[in-house]
Amino acid sequence: MNKSRGQSQPKKYGMVIDLDKCTGCGSCMVACMAENNVPFKKDETNKRDSITWMKVYRLTNGKPFPDHDICYLPRPCMHCEGHNGHSPCVSVCPATATDYSNETGIVSQIYTRCFGCRYCMAACPYHARYFNWWDPVWPAGMEEMLSPDVSVRMRGIVEKCSFCFHRYQRAMDKAHLEGRRDLEEAEYQTSCTQACPVGAITFGDLNNPEHKVHQLVKPDNAHSGRPQAPNAFRLLERLGTNPKVYYLSDREWVRRAGDNYLKGEGTIGAKH
């Protein structure tokens, strides 16, 4: 509870990604891998079993030149809230190895409890979960440089983006030592947010009106759970996963690419 702000709202960390700014450079992917000790494989040619907590998709409007347009869509874990905190992946895990935190709104993964049934992978429509098909391989010398705050995962379990949760813990430890119970916006940022050279990613507490993410999507004014900002959308919103990652784009085809629009359906945020 964020009592110090006089609110009863719990924190709800989320991300806003401006797709009109993203250049698809992949810095976020690299930063995420390095920060979170994401292992390499000897052979990375099969992308369907490479681990990329943050993955950049390339979307196209499918039109020929000169109307051709592309968009890069970074996809971390959406930290879905689902129905009453029942994210698709959390509710199905038989061993309670993945959990939704009411304190932060983050979906965590307990590596030592996961036994690798992959039911959570089946449940996640965003393919945000990754299985360790192989033993982790670290190039010579790299063993020394692993991020000490993040545990290394073993073969046979599932892992995913944690919104760099260890950074939250570190920031909270510091705040507690200083006698605070609350964090400033800048104190907890994910590595991909920091690494993005064009500032396309914004991270913060969606429930906190002082945070930029809140202002970008203005959820307070939202009707029926949809963001007010006309250019904001969430991936597969209609499935009821209630993601905490918002995307911004002024391009209508991009917003349409975010959900399965049926023929003749109006786009969220479109001017009527």
């Binding site: 199905v92 895990c93 036994f115 049934c117 992978m121 429509p125 393919h127 098909w133 209609r238 349409r256």
Partner: protein
């Protein structure tokens, strides 16, 4: 040489011939065991699964054998609870098939998980919201029940039965079998249902997701119903098969007819419910998620609309119509056709609910995830079949599985 072990009054092939048969099937079994060890020792990188396609061929086999093994609980329920006495002539065989199917299912699950040594976490850290938790608990308990049901049959082996303790134990177990049959039916209701719930609750996967009652999606009820409907088809199909192989009549017409008739009515009612479910899904559930029915069956090389026709028409309506008519059941050809169609129907249903669910793209910019199993997956999927053949062969040779055999072949 082993004649002292063979039930009295029945004929079996020579031990040499039998050993040769077991040897051949045993080689297949060893091939599967080798693949299984590879998965355990080297990991699931031995399979062709990937992060887009996390359920292997063997998970389909798992669901299919559980559905087909449903003949055990349903026949037990009819025999002991409803009181269909005629079914006593096939109950042993149904229990044997159930025992094989369920032990296979547990073995497959043990191969499927990435950390087999942590398999017990499912019980220890159980998440009561997860369908898989319910599956694991009920499956293990029901396997224990099936073992208890199979045990008296083993104790009735000619030599074992000479030991007074075993003789009395088998006798007493028969006396209380109704309790186990009831427990089995109860457990089966839940685990068959929760297996249906496994994909039915995936609200992120509109191909599998179903609305439902309380915490249960419609697939929960459909799976239980279909297992009860099609399980007996599998028992009958295997009965015919073993009769063909041995060249003997093993189960009387009256018993076959009764089971076929009940199965037919169950399939008929099931398929009506399944059609209603499909229509609701196509008209309400799918459009709410932004899909039309044909989105699920186009733009890919395998999953055409034919698969729905195969499941509902060939695997549902056809066997139902054959089995509910006296004429259909009387004709050996039609009966065999119906039970084969039924087995295909329920297997296709389990296939789509496991593999097509995974293949179907959900994000608009994604494509179908096509997958073909590695030889290790195929071998481990065949492993339970080889194990089943061996167990049936051994049980048939040494245990009184078919009480009518003597009278039908004299």
């Amino acid at each position: 040489m082993d004649s002292a072990l063979i039930p009295q009054g029945v004929k079996r092939c020579s031990l040499g011939k039998f050993a040769l048969f077991i040897g051949i099937v045993g080689a297949v079994l060893l091939w599967g065991v080798y693949a299984m060890l590879l998965c355990w020792l080297k990991g699931l990188n031995q399979t062709n699964m990937n992060d887009y396609y996390g359920f292997a061929l063997w998970i389909w086999a798992d669901l299919a054998v559980i559905a087909l093994g449903g003949g055990a609980f349903f026949t037990g329920f009819l025999r002991y609870i409803v009181g269909k006495d005629e079914l006593k002539n096939i109950i042993n065989y149904a229990v044997l098939i159930g025992f094989i199917c369920y032990s296979s299912a547990l073995l497959i699950l043990a191969i499927d998980i990435g950390q087999p040594l942590r398999g017990w976490f499912i019980f220890w850290h159980a998440n009561v919201h997860s369908m898989l938790t319910e599956v694991a608990f009920c499956l293990s308990c029901y396997f224990a029940v099936l073992s208890i049901e199979y045990l008296p049959l083993v104790l009735e082996n000619r030599q074992l039965n000479k030991v007074p303790f075993f003789h009395n134990l088998a006798h007493n177990m028969h006396e209380v079998m109704a309790v186990f049959a009831a427990t089995g039916a109860f457990l089966s209701f839940f685990h068959q249902g929760s297996l249906g719930g496994v994909s039915g609750v995936l609200f992120g996967r509109p191909f599998g997701f179903r609305e439902g009652a309380f915490i249960w999606p419609w697939t929960f009820f459909l799976f239980t119903w279909s297992a009860a409907a099609y399980g007996p088809c599998f028992t009958l199909m295997l009965t015919r098969l073993i009769e063909k192989v041995t060249g003997k009549r093993l189960v009387g017409d009256k018993c076959v007819d009764l089971l076929a008739k009940i199965s037919g009515w169950m399939i008929l009612t099931y398929i009506i419910a399944k059609i209603a479910d499909t229509l609701y899904w196509a008209w309400v559930t799918a459009p709410e998620a932004g899909f039309t029915l044909m989105d699920f069956y186009s733009n890919n090389p395998v999953y055409g609309i034919w698969i729905l026709v195969l499941e509902i028409v060939i695997g549902g309506i056809v066997p139902a119509l054959i089995l509910v008519t006296r004429k259909g059941r009387k004709s050996s050809f039609l009966l065999v056709t119906a039970v084969i169609c039924g087995v295909i129907g329920v297997s296709v249903n389990r296939w789509v609910m496991v593999l097509q669910v995974m293949a179907m793209p959900v994000m608009p910019f994604d494509t179908w995830a096509m997958y073909y199993p590695s030889w290790q997956e195929v071998a481990t999927t065949i492993l339970p079949v080889a194990y089943g053949v061996i167990l049936v062969a051994l049980s048939y040779r040494y245990l009184p599985v078919f009480p009518q055999e003597k009278e039908l072949n004299s």
